[in-house]
Amino acid sequence: MDITKDTVRYVADLARVGLTDEDLGNFTGQLDRILGYVNKLKAVDVSGLEPTSHVLEMKNIYREDEVKDSLPVSEVMKNAPAKKGDMFKVGKIIEA
């Protein structure tokens, strides 16, 4: 099967989800079983089929390019876990 602890660790890292060793063990077994189940799709002949990513036959949707009010900055900042003035505050990003 495709799923090993290393795969789960790698994918969790891509998804920016930290895992405990216990999580890693549990998820590896569970995901392996789930993928074992979804592998039944391999039995379906999909040649020539278009993928359905969306059920509506959507075209581009245009509207007039008008300036409208957006949410007040103070309202938007209200939920920030850390802020400085009108900015979201996080730790240092650029390495010294």
């Binding site: 799923i3 989800v17 079983r33 799709l41 379906v44 059920v55």
Partner: protein, 474 residues
């Protein structure tokens, strides 16, 4: 009188006569919640004083206000301005959105009174309302059992008369399955019928908001209010909204009903099977023509769904990174560590599992084998319905293969839990509308639900079928 036990249309009649006031209804609801909800845990955010204030602040009635004076509960993944909206997750702890979902604005314009938020599986990931940060919701018919999910709080609140009606959301059955397990009515509209603006996204190509009510007429009333095109959601379709409540009472004589053989598989509970047989007989006595038929790709629906839905979820949930809102873990050495720690501590196990599965299905080297293949099989499932609806007006199935199961019965094995949605998932993949209505009880007293699926944008016919059945079953 216990006003909380009545339906919305019954209460509207009493309000019209001037026999009762909106405050009377709210008081009844508040009392019921006070007595019952400690045991049920259906409601997660609720301020009784604010509800009464809102009821008192209602403007006088005008004829366009279809829900005037009626209290309503909202699933906790639908944004209500300045009210806690937490998706049953720690990662949205304390989050109060700066705007209303479009459906919430529509409810307010129709004169409804916003009461509070109902419990749900975290980010709607589940079929049992066991994964909420706020604890398990119990089934009002048997408190050792789950109410279904993910809109289990809404369904349990309506079933327990803690709510007149409520909104839920349905990505793979999350309105219909809990409605079935709690013995109430739940409708998933056609994809695009109801605006998703302000619904915190799980899987954007599958999600729809819909009503959970005590009877079919209420579902028609509530659906009409929340439906319609919205500039804020480009996937909401610009189609006129029928006057559902006036169209459901015309009977089903000559209606052609398909009964898909793939939905009567082994593993379906024998009492559910028997109650389906009885329901089909009843529909026939009402003049419908029922015929066995086939939806040949049904067996692939769960597999397709758990790739497509988790792939979309892994992308949608990337926004919860501890920067703009909600919970942030402290003491991280770098910004990336902060994201990882925030998501480790903020998400529950099922959310993490689905994010990882979805990321895997989309990742380089696996995309074609999993995600893209799933989208192609989705085409086949959609075609099954297109073919079927050339011949049939509606399709009738059980909503769930079993009645409500025991708390913790399926939590150890995610795959068994995923298979709980086996009969509801296809409608989301194909984008078609579906309704679950009560159709009897097991010998032990647990509700059983009947699912009616319809053509895209033909909610009218599934409501009409449901109404005819409901009236005949009374």
């Amino acid at each position: 009188m216990e006003l909380n036990r009545l339906t919305a249309h019954e209460l509207t009649a009493l309000l019209d006569k001037g026999d009762i006031s909106p405050v009377d209804i709210c008081n009844n609801i508040i009392k019921e919640i006070g007595q019952k909800d400690k045991g049920l845990n259906a409601v997660v955010h609720f301020d009784p004083e604010k509800a009464i204030e809102r009821a008192k602040a209602l403007k006088g009635r005008d004829s366009s206000a279809a829900l005037w004076g009626l209290p309503i509960f909202i699933k906790d993944n639908i944004c209500v301005k300045d009210e806690l909206t937490t998706c049953g997750s720690k990662i949205l702890e304390g989050f109060a959105p700066p705007y209303n979902a479009t459906v919430v604005d529509r409810l307010c314009r129709a004169g409804a009174i916003l009461m509070g938020k109902t419990n749900m599986d975290e980010f709607a990931f589940g079929s049992s309302t066991e994964t909420s940060f706020y604890g398990v919701t119990k089934n009002p018919w048997d408190r050792d059992r789950i109410p279904g999910g993910s809109s289990g709080g809404s369904a349990a609140a309506v079933a327990a008369n803690e709510a007149i009606f409520a909104l839920g959301s349905d990505t793979g059955g999350s309105i219909r399955q809990p409605a079935s397990l709690c013995g109430v009515v739940g409708l998933k509209p056609t994809y695009g019928r109801v605006s998703r603006y302000g619904l915190i996204a799980f899987a954007s190509s599958l999600d729809q908001i819909g009503p959970i009510t005590k009877d079919v007429e209420d579902a028609a009333i509530l659906l009409k209010v929340i439906s319609g095109h919205d500039n804020m959601d480009p996937t909401s379709v610009d189609k006129s909204v029928p006057d559902f409540p006036s169209l459901i009472k015309r009977g089903i004589k000559g209606l052609k009903i398909g009964i898909p053989k793939e939905y009567f598989i082994e593993g379906i509970d024998s009492e559910v099977r028997q109650s389906m047989r009885d329901a089909i007989k009843k529909l026939e006595t009402l003049g419908a023509i029922c015929e066995d038929m086939s939806l040949p790709h049904t067996e692939y629906a769960v597999a397709v769904y758990y790739l497509v839905a988790t792939a979309e979820a892994s992308s949608n949930l990337a926004r919860f990174d501890g920067v703009q809102y909600g919970f942030r873990a402290d003491q991280a050495a770098s910004v990336i560590e902060m994201h990882k720690k925030t998501r480790q501590e903020g998400f529950g196990s099922e959310a993490k599992r689905r994010i990882i599965l979805g990321t895997f299905a989309l990742s380089s080297g696996y995309y074609d084998a999993y995600y893209l293949r799933a989208l192609k099989v989705r085409t086949l499932i959609k075609r099954d319905f297109e073919e079927a609806f050339k011949k049939y007006d509606v399709i009738v199935t059980p909503t769930s293969p079993t009645p409500a199961f025991k708390i913790n019965e399926r939590t150890e094995d995610p795959l068994t839990m995923y298979l709980s949605d086996i009969f509801t998932i296809s409608a989301n993949l194909a984008g078609i509308p579906g309704i679950s209505i009560p159709c009897g009880f097991t010998k032990s007293g647990l509700p059983i639900g009947l699912q009616i699926l319809g053509k895209p944008f033909d909610e009218e016919t599934i409501l009409r079928t449901a109404y005819s059945y409901e009236q005949a079953a009374k």
